[in-house]
Each structure stands twice: as C-alpha cells, then as structure tokens.
C-alpha cells in the first residue's frame, strides 16, 4: 500500500523577498517537488513602448534607464547605437571610449548585484551581497560624479555621451580599477570555498547548450551552459574590437557555472576599462545633432551585450522625430521562459536559486 499525495498550488506572489521584483510564479507542487510552473508577468508594465511613440529619440533615452534599471548605461548605449545607425550619425572616438568605460563599469556593478542576490537567495543573510556592494557603491559614486544620477543615468546621447567626466573622475577610476582585482579575488574566495554554497548550487538548474540555444537564452546564462557567444566579440560595436579580453564559458550549465561566469566577466571588464583608460584620445564627447532628429524612414534592430545578455532595440522610423515603433528586446523575459524547464522536478529551494542565477530584472520584462 502506498500513500498518494495531492499536488497543490503555491503562489510565489508579486510581493516576495526573492522574486527580484514584482512578478508572480504559480507553482504546482507535490510535497517539496515542483511539478509545473507558470509565470505571470505584467505587474510592472508602464507602457514604455507606446509612450515612446510620442517622444523624440533623445527623449526616449530615459525610458531605457528604467527598463533595465540595473544596467542603465547598457540600455542607453543600445538605443543610441541603434538610432545612430538608423540616422547615420558619426560618433567621435573619445565618446566611443567613454561609452565602453561606462558600459563596463555598469557591467561590474550589475554582476555584483546579481551575484550578491544569488548568494542571498541561497541563504547567506546578505553578507556577501554587502561585501559586493562596496565596489558597487564606488561605481555608483563615479556615475553620480559624471552625470548626476546613480541608477537611472541617462548618460548616452545620440552622437556621443552627455557630459565630459570631471577631472576628479579619472584618479578615482584608476584607484577603483587598481583595487578591483584583489577585491574580486576576495569575493571569489569568500563564496567558492563554502561547501554549503557549492552543495546548493552545483548540479542545480542545469540547462544543456542545445536547449539553451533552442530557447534563445542569452548572456551569462548562455555562456554558463558552454556556448561561447558574446556580442562584443561577434559583432563588435563602439571600440570593442580594439580591446583585448576573453570570454569565460562554463562547463555544465548549472547555477554555479553561471555564478563563476559572471565573476570572471567582472575581471575581464576590469581589463577592458584599464585598456580604455590608457588608450582614450582627446576630442569632443558628442557630435551636434538637431534637436528633433529625423532619421530616414526605415527599420533597424540594434543590439548590445548588456550584463543580462543581448539587449536589442527594434526601431521603425517614418521620417518624423518620434519613432513609429519602439520595441525593447528584453533578455530577462526570454531567459525567464526557460525557468520552467530548469525548475521542473526540482525542489522549491532549487527553483529559487535558479531564478536568482538567471538574473532577471522585472523592469525590462514588463517594460
């Protein structure tokens, strides 16, 4: 005689300490095992794409801040690159180097947050998170020094960057870049040697490269599964083709691999920033464009490698200052669709840790 158990539905609701924002997961569970998983998004929908149709391209840049609010610089960069290709605007070289520096700084800050919250989801009561926030605070200080805001930076402009960094920016940046490698080693050592963390994350949330590519996974999650795809090397934009860096790739595709890939990427970002700092030329930081830029009618899909993966912007222009269609390809939304496969059959604790490793930002899921 065996005892049967009935599955029940658990609602990991919109307000929850670990859903990284407001979105809802309906889980059908059998005891502690997840049988099925249903995601309901839309709690943070602010109709950015519709509002963008009423505004000029420059006025649309703040929308990208708030879409992926943890990677504002990358979002800005993506939109500006797309519009520049559409409107055929030249970008001075100094501006490209500045863009690279700030995008990589943003990547370090975002990965610090992602890894920190992953370890917190595994239960470490925010201690590693706060350690990683040390460096993130310094980076946000640098952002504030330059453009006045820490999170929603609105720094890139069509044709360059908004402001020239102040003189005290460069020594602070050099100091940060000098102490970052040792700090990253500290974070690595603090968490990696921890057997509890390894037991929580090894062989958890595995996705094979075939499934990843079939599901359009991008970013560190894809690279964690072993697929060496990085837009900075595949379709170099700005001055990435002049930078010497490597792309870390995982082996199994579990949570631990994604964590390690993000950690390695912060090291590579430090390299890139250092090279950019050495090689940056003098020059203007922006080209002048008309206030209401009217690009040629046409469409374009421009993409950048943000901290979460390929952040794409699909723009359709009809010759007017406002875009006819403005669509953000949010990596978090597409990555999220693979959660179901990863979490089926796993325990609830594992599903939470897997969700943390996918590094989603609900702002760009719902836009």
């Amino acid at each position: 005689m065996t005892t049967a158990s009935e599955p029940y539905v658990l609602n990991i609701g919109p307000q929850h300490p670990s859903t990284h924002g407001v979105f809802r997961i309906r889980v059908v569970m059998d005891g502690e095992q997840i049988q099925d998983l249903d995601m309901i998004v839309g709690y943070l929908h602010r109709s950015m794409e519709k509002l963008a149709e009423e505004r000029t391209y420059t006025q649309n840049i703040p929308f990208t801040d708030r879409a992926d609010y943890l990677a504002a610089m990358s979002g800005n960069l993506g939109l500006c690159l797309a519009v520049e290709r559409l409107a055929d605007v030249e970008v001075p070289e100094r501006a490209s180097y500045l863009r690279v520096i700030f995008a990589e700084l943003q990547r370090i800050a975002s990965h610090a947050m992602a890894n920190g919250t992953l370890v917190s989801d595994a239960g470490a009561w925010q201690t590693p998170l706060l350690y990683m926030f040390r460096e993130r605070e310094k980076i946000l200080d640098l952002f504030e020094m330059t453009c006045g805001a820490r999170l929603t930076t609105n720094y890139m402009r069509i044709g360059g960057v908004a402001f020239e960094p102040p003189p005290e920016f460069w020594p602070a940046l050099r100091e940060l870049v000098d102490e970052l490698p040792q700090r990253i080693d500290e974070y690595a050592q603090m968490v990696q040697g921890n057997e509890i963390f390894i037991a929580r994350t090894r062989n958890v949330g595995i996705i094979s490269p075939e499934d990843a590519i079939n599901g359009s996974l991008v970013g560190p999650a894809l690279r964690g599964s072993g697929v060496p795809w990085d837009l900075r090397k595949a379709e170099p934009y700005c001055v990435y083709d002049r930078m010497d860096f490597e792309v870390p790739v995982g082996t199994i595709g579990d949570v631990y691999d994604r964590y390690m890939v993000r950690l390695e990427e912060t090291r590579q970002s430090t390299r890139i920033i250092r090279q950019a700092m050495e090689a940056i030329p003098e020059g203007p930081h922006k080209t002048d464009i008309p206030l209401a830029l009217r690009p040629e009618p046409g469409e374009i899909y421009g993409r950048v490698e943000g901290p979460r993966g390929e952040t794409g912007f699909y723009l359709v222009s009809d010759g007017s200052p406002a875009p006819y269609r403005f669509h953000i390809r949010a990596p978090s939304l597409i990555n999220l669709s693979l959660l179901r496969e990863m979490a089926r059959g796993a325990a609830l604790s594992d599903a939470v840790v897997t969700l943390g490793s996918l590094d989603i930002v609900v702002g760009e899921i719902d836009r």
Binding site: D141, M145, R200, G226, V261, A347
Partner: protein
Amino acid sequence: MSEQPAIVKRQLPATPMARQIIERGTLREQAARMPFAAKVIGAIFGIGFLIANAGIAYIVVDGRLDGMWYDFRDLGYAIERLRVELRTVDGTIGGQELGAILAYWVPALIGGIGILSFLGGFLLIGSWIERRLLARFQIRTGPNRVGPYGLLQPLADALKLMQKEVLIPAGADRMLFYLPPVLIFIPAMLAWGPIPWAENMAYLDLNVGLLYVVSITSLSVLAVWLAGWSSNNHYALLGSMRTVAMMVSYEIPISLALLSVVLVTGSLRLSAIVAWQADHYLWLALLLPFALFTFFFSSTAEINRTPNDIAEAESEIVAGFHTEYSGMKAGLFLAVELGNALLTGALVATFFLGGYTLFGLEEWIPGYLILGAKATFGYFIFIWLRATLPRFRIDQLMNFAWKYLIPLSIANVLLVAIEASIAARWDAPAIIVYGLFVIVNIALTAYAVRAWARAIGYAMDVEQPAQPIFAKTIGGLKAARSLRGEA
C-alpha cells in the same frame, strides 16, 4: 589622460554618504574626539572599577564572605537564609503551617521572577547585540539612530509591534491561531529552570535535569506545527512541515550526544555535571568533542537558526510558519528565537564548558557572571554562523541528520561507554586516564568526521569545482560542442 595625478587624497569622495563614512573614523578616533568631561567620567569609572575589584579580592581572599548570606558570589546563600527565616513565621492556614508554605512559595516566586527578568532583559539587549554584530560582519553600522548607539532600538521595535493591528487570516481557526505564540514561549521559559548559576543557585535542581531540558524543548515542535496549520496559508504549512520534520529528526542526535555526557559524569543532574567538570579540572568539550559538535549543530536545527533556518527561509517562503502572525504575536516568535539561542549557549556552557566554574576562578568572580559570559560567547558563535553561512536545503539537512550524525553519535556512545567502564575499573590517577581519553577522542573524532562522510558517498570538493574555460573563438552550438569535446 597621462597628465592627471595618479592618486587624489581620500577627502574627495563624491557622495555625502562616503564623506560621512570617512570623516567618522575608527573607534579610537571617535573616542579621542569625545568631550573632556566624558573622558574624566570614564577615567573615574575605570579607576573605581579597579579599586572595587581590589576590595573584592581582599574580602574573598580573607575568607570573610564564605557562607554568609551577603555572599554575592552565590545568591543561593541569601535565599537559604530567607527560607530559614520564613520557616519561623507562626501561624497556620488550612491545617498547614504558614511558615512552611511561605518558605516554599516565596523563594519560588523570587526565583521565577528573577529568571523572567533576566530573560526579558536579555531580549532587550540581545536583539541589539545581534543586529550590531551582524552589521559589523557586513561592513555596515547597524541601528544607530534610536538612542545612543541605537541601544533603544529593541525597545522601539517592541513598542512598534505592540501597537500593530492584529490580523487573523480568513479561514483560520481563531483559538488555534492564538495558541502557538503562547505555547512556544512556555518551553523557552521553563528550560531555564535546571541551569545552575552558582553552587546553590539552580532554580529547579531536578535529579533528571538533563532529561527535563530535552523533553521541554521537544514541546515546541507542536507549537510550531500548530502555527503553520492554523494560518490557512500554504507558505506557513510548508514552513511548519519542514520545521517539524527537522526538529524531530535532530532530537535524536541531541539525545545521543547528551547520553555520552551522562555516561561520563554518571548523573542527570546539571549541577552534578558541572561539579564533575570542576572536580576533574577537565571540560567535557575536550573529552567529548564530537558530542559538543553534534549538540551545537543539532541545536541550531532545533531553534531554527542559520545554517538550519529552512523553516523561516526568508528568500523562499517569506517567513515560514509565522508568516501570518502580526504584531506582538510575531514579536513573541522572534523573541523566542532569541531566547532559545541564549538558552542553547547556556546549555552548551553547562554541559561542555564547565558551567559556572572556571578552574577555581569562581571564588573571585561570581559564578553567574562566568556562566553569563560563556552563554554570551555561545550566542556570539550563533550570530557568527548566521552572518557567514548560507542555509542548507531541507533534504540535505535530513540526510545529514539521519545518515551522518545518528550513526556517528551511536558510535560515539559506544566509545564513551567503553571509556567510562574503563575509568571505573582502572586504578591509575585520573589525569592519566582522562588525558588518554582526551587524546583518543580528539584523534578519533578528527578521523571519523571525514572518513564517515566519504563512506556515505559525499565527495567533498577539496579540489575546487571546475573553473570556467576561456573561449578563444565565438560561436554557437558547434563551438560549444567543440569546447566540450576539448574539455
């Protein structure tokens, strides 16, 4: 940008917050900045403390205090004298002597009120200690707004909780919903009874004290389950089922570890255990290291603290079994967690660290201060564990209890039984016998801990798990496959 200076001095941080942090300086700098009057008062206190200690040393060494009722090193003498005085009261009530009744009830009430006040006082300061210490582990400050250095923060929290609206979830059983906070506070209070604070200062010196402690802590399992069940909430139920399974599983290693303590000391009475450790000048922590480790780790499971706080895993099930509780009910759950942590510290101190004795120092320093220091040290270890370790998954926890701790605990009991019977029959001086046992036990523990883990198939990652590979070429699936073919 080669013309810029290499490093700019640190007083140019970008944000006001960073500037504030740098200007605040270290503790030494802050102390040097205090006003002169404060420094004078501090100096007076310091010198007064030294003089008081010298006076106490003189009195103690002179032997003036021994056995007198004003011997503040052992408040039991005062209580004994009070009892003697009360017994001489004349009168009868209902056929009973008034003296006997008073001599029983008044010291009982005094002791009970004493324990409650101590517990309540600790709850006020313990929360502060925990938050400040956690903050220090996390490179931040902790509460520092409410009162000087945030000392009034626990009071503010208690007042806030008391004035919150009490919500009862729809569909929850009213009576069963009100019961758990009360039910869980009772064992937390009762278990303090047998603990000896000094030679005559055990409130309930039962001759089955150890068994009493184990059985009272097992009462809180029912309270936890009831809290989860009566909330009519899936999260709460999930949390409480996890907790019940975990608590019940970890009671066995606790009992086995304490069984080895009983085998060595030959008594269940806590004051006898402490006396054994004082007489043999040997802490049971040295003689029974595995029992200490088992007891400590299983206690973290019993009181739901990290790394075993799966029941209130904030990142997964919000707050587990006390999700639906608001106001002072939730406050009681949190208070009980705190009180239980100190209780476990006191129990570890009593069983394994010598209790209120400190190799003869309790003649000078009052025993209750020594025990308080040891209990606080245990509490500090709990906070340390909480700040650094992530939490286990529930099936990993259960595996650990059933496959690892219980077999090893049984082996430990066997070993200790053999040693105890040897000690009873061997005529050598105690230091040789117990010294030998200490060495054998520590060596065997160090070996068995790793060997057994390997025997049950736990591949300990002494070598780091695979590091990420650095890809030379970009590609899709083919590149991935070729990378794996190489790797």
